[in-house]
């Protein structure tokens, strides 16, 4: 070992130490900012739950009272009895389930056609599909309503469910699955083709089983969309018996008084299933977002 690299090392050492120190300081700063802003982000959740556990006297008070005196669980029991809460929840689950079922059957079929079968005109059709994503909902809203009105299906779940199966939103899921299918090695499907397997068989026996994670992502996002959808049910569902939670929540709001305790309790129950779902399949959410964003 000669002297020169050692002296270079010696010169580099303080510089890298300084860099490490400034790196540590930057990380500490990042933590500080992320934590502070993060607390602001958590605050609405805390306020949601705390309000749901307070009496009216504790809710309408200046300055604000943070913690409830005695925990008011009855806000929850009152909330689910003040409106047909479980009927609305059942309706919401039913619509969401139908939407998910159709989309996870239809979207992968189409995505397979757009990724694994090389037919004439495929790319052109694919670009048409992508461009439909720019079509504002409002342009098709009225004719689709008129169409369902003519066949007497308004005030039923069909317009909502069929729109999710065949409407503009589907393109988003087809795109997501197509990106996933393109990642499946060509050799895998080609060798099956040479062995004489039909496309349907390759699809069902090779591609679909490999795509469970992507299908889960698609199902999840469809569910989320249907669970929180407001405009669809607002337009189509007149009969209060058929309302979903998004529509039903307004019943806690009366002419000049809002039952905030009950409303926050009802909102908490409305949100909880999704938050629980998130903690079970966190990775799927993040993947779903990044796949569509990046490619």
């Amino acid at each position: 070992m000669n002297a020169s690299p050692q002296s270079a090392d010696a010169a580099a050492a303080p510089r890298s130490a300084a860099r490490r120190r400034s790196g540590a300081a930057r990380k500490a700063m990042s933590h500080l900012v992320l934590t502070l802003v993060g607390l602001l982000f958590l605050m609405p959740f805390v306020w949601l739950v705390l309000t749901s556990l307070k009496t009216d006297d504790e809710i309408f008070v200046v300055p604000v009272q943070w913690l409830p005196g005695a925990i008011q669980w009855e806000n929850y029991t009152k909330a689910i009895h003040a409106i047909p809460y479980f009927r609305y929840m059942g309706n919401t689950i039913w619509i969401a389930a139908l939407c998910v079922l159709g989309v996870v059957v239809i979207a992968p079929l189409v995505a397979y056609g757009f990724s694994k079968i090389d037919f004439k005109g495929r790319n052109g059709l694919f670009y048409i599909m992508l461009s439909t994503l720019m079509l504002p909902f409002q342009v098709t809203m009225i004719p689709i309503y008129v169409m369902f009105n003519k066949i007497d299906l308004t005030n039923s779940y069909w317009p909502i469910v069929l729109s999710s199966w065949f409407g503009t939103g589907l393109a988003y899921y087809i795109f997501l699955l197509r990106q996933f299918f393109l990642g499946i090695p060509h050799e895998l499907t080609e060798s099956a083709k040479i062995d004489g397997a039909s496309e349907l068989r390759i699809y069902a026996q090779i591609v679909l089983p490999l795509s469970k994670p992507a299908l889960l992502t698609v199902g999840l996002f469809t569910f989320l969309g249907a669970w929180g959808d407001f405009q669809g049910p607002l337009i189509y569902l007149n009969d209060p018996d058929k309302w979903t939670l998004s529509i039903g929540l307004k019943q806690y709001i009366q002419e000049n008084k809002v039952a905030w305790g009950q409303l926050m309790a009802a909102s908490t129950i409305f949100t909880l299933p999704i938050v629980i779902l998130y903690f079970f399949v966190q990775k799927k959410f993040i993947e779903g977002i990044t796949i569509t964003g990046l490619k």
């Binding site: 079929l109 009225i142 929180g228 993040i286 964003g293 990046l294």
Partner: protein, 308 residues
Amino acid sequence: MNAGNQIGIRRRERKRLLVGLLFISPWLAGLLLFQLYPILSSFYYSLTEYSLFTPPEWVGAANYKELFDDPKVWLSLYNTLFMTIFGLFPHLAFALAIALLLNRNVKGQSIYRTIYFLPTLVPIVAATLLWMWLLNAQYGLINELAGRIGLPQPNWLLDPKWTKPALVLMGFWGTGTATIMYLAALQEVPRMYYEAAEIDGANAWQKFRQITLPAISPMTLFQVIMGIIGTLQLFTQGYVFAEGNGQAIGGPENSLLFYGVYLYQTAFSFLRMGYASAMAWLLFAVVFALTILVFKTSAKWVYYGGDR
């Protein structure tokens, strides 16, 4: 190559076409029934007076002429573009800032990510109602905190000057999706770019300005386009804000009358399907024009890496 072979190839091609079309047929059916047909009939309705109960009555371009004389159309367009300009861009800048911090490989990244993403999971109606409570002028948490640090305590929900800023404020809470997308884009930026810049003595700002921003510009383009399309269709927040206040559609002095809200009202409260269809076409034109504008300018600020 002999003729028989060529016929074989053509037959195989035809078969592939058939099978391919079969696979995508559900989408094709959707395209026809839920997009093409509605687009065409929307255009037809826009040239008629149509109340749903009587057949459409041809009025020519009358609806389009009315659009230009309808102050509510322009007001709602203004309200909507206000949200696009003062909502979308600050929200994206904020999402990028958080993503940059997360990208410093801080410990507990996944916990932070969860915290910032969680609000996007709250059903939009529940989120809007919760924010109305947070923004309540008298008993709301936000005005309480604002008062403590000496900020103004506006009447967010009833003062027409403050209703849209209230929605912008609420929008920051829903930026988690944009943050996740930006974080993913940041993680794709090759480390060697930064290393090379460091050797040249670039400081943090220069690295951000010269490397990070150009490298993630395709993601910014994507978010701006989707954001424009999204905000121009803004509906639920504006509708719920007014309704939750026990007010008529549009809220205080129509300050929450967004284009989507006015269009909904025209169609389903006033039952003027023809006029609402004309409104939809104006919206389409605005979406289209803005998208093209962004794409046109994007040549100047979007950079694609060598492999694209």
